[in-house]
């Protein structure tokens, strides 16, 4: 044995170590050199058979080599450990399903109602809900809808069958709009008043892709001493832009409603074609989203407000229509079919 052998072993280890990429293979290498039956153990075993003067030298050389190799192995082990901390999740399969309670969903109509009521609440409106069974007075007469108006027909409003045969028929009905909440609130409270009233409404329409005998509306109204048409425009612009997008354009068109004067229908630029004209907007470039106006003085008289003293605005919007536009839903019946494959998309 000579010193060359010792150096060769060290060189060999230095060549092999860089190729090691795991603790396991490092351990195999360590055992090969430093194990009980390793190369160094073999060298040590030979020492007794050597001449006495060489015994001491080789003994020293093997010991020095052992220390050097131990150092090399421990360095390598440290660097392997460092690497493991950087990307040591190679055996975690992130393709496996996560473990969590599934969240359910609020109905898309509830989501739209909550969104709109949230916006209105931030503008100072109080959100209240009213009964679905209404009197003819609250649903029609109080709102300045004349006795002979077609909307009072049995073709346009559901009436309740009276169980008292002596009672005058047609006195109770299912509200055909959320506007009766104007009458209820104004009869109960004095101005200033800002109210949003969401809820179910009913009309005897034959069901098809765009008609339903039950649907939802939100009525909003504000009354005080100096409420102006320009305020109506401001509130509705804020509302529509919050619901759809800041980019939409709006227009107010004169219209006729018995309970507002002046009245306006509100259109937004078509959110599908950006106003260029498509099938959703019937190539008009505009989508009608709500009806509105300044509350008619007769309505104020009916609730005991002085129309000379107070002005106010009111608006009513159909939730299904907004939801259909917002989510791109093409059939109103989907809302009431409650198919989980539909509900879970929202």
């Amino acid at each position: 044995m000579s010193g060359v052998d010792i150096e060769a072993i060290e060189e060999q280890v230095k060549l092999e170590i860089p190729n090691i990429d795991s603790r396991e293979s490092l351990e195999v290498l360590r055992v090969k050199y430093l194990g009980r039956k390793g190369i160094l153990a073999e060298l040590t075993a030979r020492i007794p058979s050597l001449p006495i003067e060489k015994r001491r030298i080789l003994g020293q050389q093997v010991n020095a080599l052992k220390n050097k190799l131990n150092l090399l192995f421990s360095d390598k082990e440290k660097s392997l450990a460092a690497n493991r901390n950087q990307s040591g999740y190679s055996n975690v399969d992130m393709g496996l399903p996560g473990i969590a309670q599934d969240l359910g969903r609020l109905h898309p109509l509830t989501q739209v109602i909550d969104e709109i009521c949230g916006i209105l609440t931030r503008m100072g409106f109080s959100v209240v809900e009213g009964p679905e069974i209404e009197s003819e007075y609250n649903n029609f007469s109080g709102l300045n809808i004349p006795l002979e108006h077609p909307s009072r027909d049995v073709f346009d409003t559901f009436y309740l069958r009276s169980c008292d045969p002596d009672a005058k028929s047609r006195n109770l009905l299912l509200r055909s709009q959320t506007s009766p909440m104007q009458i209820r609130m104004m009869k109960t409270y004095q101005p200033p008043l800002a109210v949003a009233a969401p809820g179910r409404v009913y009309r005897p329409d034959a069901t098809d892709a765009s008609h339903s005998f039950m649907f939802h509306q939100i009525e909003g109204f504000m009354v005080d001493k100096n409420i102006r048409f320009s305020d109506l425009k401001g509130v509705l612009e804020l509302l529509a832009k919050s619901i759809f997008s800041q980019e939409i354009r709006m227009r107010f068109r004169p219209h006729f409603f018995p309970f507002t004067e002046p009245s306006a229908e509100v259109d937004i630029s078509c959110i599908i074609c950006q106003g260029k004209g498509c099938s959703v907007c019937a190539r008009k470039g505009w989508l009608e989203i709500l009806g509105s106006g300044m509350i008619h003085p007769n309505v104020f008289k009916n609730v005991g407000y002085d129309p000379k003293k107070y002005t106010g605005f009111a608006f009513g919007l159909g939730i299904e229509r907004i939801a259909m536009l917002k989510f791109g839903i093409n059939d109103i019946r989907l809302f009431f079919e409650n198919d989980l494959r539909f509900l879970k998309q929202f």
Partner: protein, 676 residues
């Protein structure tokens, strides 16, 4: 209402394109729903609101165009002519009730030649959607579209006697109209009659017998006004539609009847020869002049924009209103006959601003401090919905109107439901007294679409009669069906929905709403489990039986359902939260594992542990329970975790050991349990 661009041009100069005109009309409240080119002309279809019958005419629309563009309206000149004395001088009009028919003008035109209409006439009528018949009928229709006043021509020689009677039909009187159908009338219908019989259904359709045809020589031209309600009811009763009825129902301007009649005569003489030899009129002449005070300053306050007086006067007079200045900014406004819809100052404000332009009103935000009105149900309902969604349930919205038979499928006793007087079908005949049947319907639908796990809820009104008064209540219903797979590294757990799932959901709600005194009561004979708050039952919880499920076409599946009254629940809600100081000293937890008879109720054991463990046991809860292979039949395994703690010092192991041993033995003896 259809109008053509060129027809409008008969009455004023239009210097804007049809496209620009359509936009402008839309923006003053006459929404143009379509604009189509047609034979050297353009057809505009306009949606006229119910308050504007004056715009159901070319002249009416032309007047709006004049107000928009500032051009002058040129109405046709129809000069009055002298009437020669004739053999018809004894002709008379007999209106039985002036309320039914305020005005009737008859003109006799002799020696007409009924022929096909000239092209210009045919074409215009066709463009506005009216079929050409013959020159006489076409002219009456032409004037109807032009003036908005429906006219009717009778074959004079087929009228019996020199008399027109406007009267109610007699009971069982029949009339065959020009559509060939014979109708049995009653006194609700208004007819035009000769001395013998009804010859026309007033304002709706003429009679077949006196119809103008190829052989007609002499005609009687009717221009009249009829009561809108009578026309509407009769038309609806017989399911008839006509351009005349459409206009009479919405109201006719008395001022134009005479002019329309003369215009028709002029056209008949031109197109169909003939000569007008007689005119007779019966009824009111002119209407009551109405006048509204208009304050421009107030208009500015209502609108949020000030419109200069000169501009305001220009707009209103352009629309036909006559203004007299009373004071600075205050005007007296005479309302013209074609605008009976304008009654108050606000109506004039709208007239002013719709022509001025809604787009020129600025957008502002109101400076109000409105009162805050709290709705006592919206907030807790919203909390409940969010809790349920957090627990993985999906909200459904189902119809409040249902078939009576759907409600009965449930087999749950309900109060008398409220019936709908005029349902569209039996599917909507009652207002639902409970939500549960609707949820079963939803589950059935989803099972059909291969959903394995259905967990849904609805919050909605329910309806019933309480001592004959209709009553609304707010309910929550929850339904679970099927098996929910939970995939853990330890393996798949198939979690089949059962009573305890609904119990857990409800408890979460109760706890979150601060409701403490809730309980679930199992009565041996009851078909369901009662949900109680204190002593009051607020709802029920049940496992639907096979019969009920079968009626909903649900097979081989279990459905658990709960329904409760939120009105009753909400009276117990306590959302106030109060902090309880954290314990100063640590506690020690010791378990008791028992094997007890199946029928023993866990609740009793827990109560006993708490009672017996006073004052050291602060909490006792079930930390494990098991029934199955390792447990003898008729028994259940149970582990109760007991938390021992003192408020003023740290309890030691040595103190607890004998206490817990004693408690364990006590419970064992008390309930005949074995310690595991």
């Amino acid at each position: 209402m259809k109008v053509t661009y060129n027809w409008l041009k008969d009455f004023l100069d239009i210097k804007i394109t049809p496209q620009v005109l359509a936009d402008k009309l839309t923006m003053v409240g006459l929404e143009v729903t379509s604009l189509e080119p047609a034979a050297d002309d353009w057809v505009l279809e306009i949606e006229v609101t119910s308050n504007r019958p004056d715009c159901l005419s070319i002249i009416g629309i032309a007047r709006e165009v004049a107000a928009i563009t500032g051009e002058k309206l040129k109405l046709p000149r129809t000069d009055k002519r002298p009437t020669p004395k004739t053999q018809y001088r004894d002709f008379s009009i007999d209106i039985r009730d002036k309320k039914d028919c305020p005005l009737y003008i008859a003109r006799v035109i002799q020696k007409v030649e009924v022929r096909p209409s000239p092209d210009w006439l045919k074409q215009r009528l066709e463009l506005v959607g009216c079929r050409s018949v013959n020159s006489i009928v076409d002219i009456t229709n032409y004037v109807l579209f032009e003036y908005g006043e429906p006219l009717h021509a009778f074959d004079l020689d087929k009228l019996g006697g020199q008399k027109i009677i406007v009267r109610r039909a007699k009971t069982k009187e029949t009339l065959t109209a020009i559509d060939g159908k014979s109708r049995a009338l009653d006194t609700s219908a208004l007819v035009i009659a000769d001395k013998n019989q009804a010859v026309a259904l007033a304002g709706i359709m003429g009679g077949l017998k006196t119809e103008v045809g190829a052989g007609t020589k002499n005609i009687l031209l009717e221009a009249a006004v009829f009561d809108p309600l009578i026309i509407r009811r009769t038309r609806q009763k017989f399911g008839m539609q006509s351009e005349s009825a459409y206009r009479f129902e919405r109201g006719i301007n008395l001022d134009i009847v005479e002019a329309a009649s003369r215009r028709a005569v002029e056209l008949i003489e031109k197109v169909s020869a003939g000569k007008c030899i007689l005119e007779k009129k019966s009824g009111v002449s002119g209407r009551k002049q109405s006048r509204v005070t208009f304050d421009l300053e107030r208009a500015g306050k209502v609108l949020g924009v000030n419109i200069p007086a000169l501009r305001a006067k220009g707009i209103l007079s352009g629309l036909g209103f006559k203004l007299t200045t009373k004071k600075k900014s205050i005007f007296l406004v005479d309302i013209p006959g074609h605008r009976p819809d304008v009654k108050i100052e606000e109506d004039l404000i709208e007239e002013l601003v719709r022509i001025f332009g809604y787009e020129r009103i600025p957008t502002t935000l109101p400076a109000v401090k409105p009162r805050i009105i709290t709705d006592n149900t919206r907030d807790p309902v919203s909390r409940i919905k969010n809790i349920l969604v957090g627990l993985g349930l999906n909200e459904v919205i189902s119809y409040s109107l249902i078939a009576r038979q759907l409600s009965e499928k449930l087999n749950i006793e309900t109060p008398e439901p409220i019936e709908i007087l005029n349902p569209l079908s039996t599917e909507q005949e009652i207002l639902r007294p409970l939500l549960a049947s609707s949820l079963l319907g939803c589950i059935s639908h989803n099972l059909n679409h291969k959903q394995d796990y259905i967990n849904i809820f609805e919050v909605a009104k329910v309806f019933s009669r309480v001592t004959s008064e209709p009553r609304e209540g707010l309910h929550l219903a929850i339904a679970l069906c099927g098996t929910k797979p939970w995939l853990f590294p330890q393996g798949l757990i198939k979690d089949e929905a059962g009573i305890l799932h609904i119990k857990g959901i409800l408890e979460t709600i109760f706890i979150k709403l601060g409701i403490r005194e809730y309980s679930f009561r199992v009565d041996n004979n009851a078909a369901n489990i009662g949900i109680y708050i204190a002593a009051e039952q607020v709802g029920f919880l049940l496992m639907a039986n096979k019969d009920v499920l079968g009626r909903f076409q649900i097979k081989n599946k279990e459905v658990v359902l709960a329904e409760l009254s939120l009105d009753r629940l909400f009276s117990q809600v306590n959302l106030l939260k109060k902090f309880i100081p954290l314990p100063l000293y640590p506690g020690i937890i010791r378990d008791i594992s028992l094997l007890i008879k199946e029928e023993l109720k866990v609740e009793e054991i827990i109560q006993m542990v708490k009672e017996k463990g006073r004052p050291w046991i602060k909490q006792a809860s079930i930390s494990d329970y098991y029934q199955g292979k390792q447990i003898p039949a008729g028994f259940k395994g149970l582990t109760i975790s007991c938390l021992y703690r003192a408020d003023e010092r740290t309890l030691t192991e040595a103190e607890i050991k004998p206490l817990h041993a004693e408690l364990t033995v006590f419970i064992q003896q008390k309930f005949g349990a074995q310690i595991r």
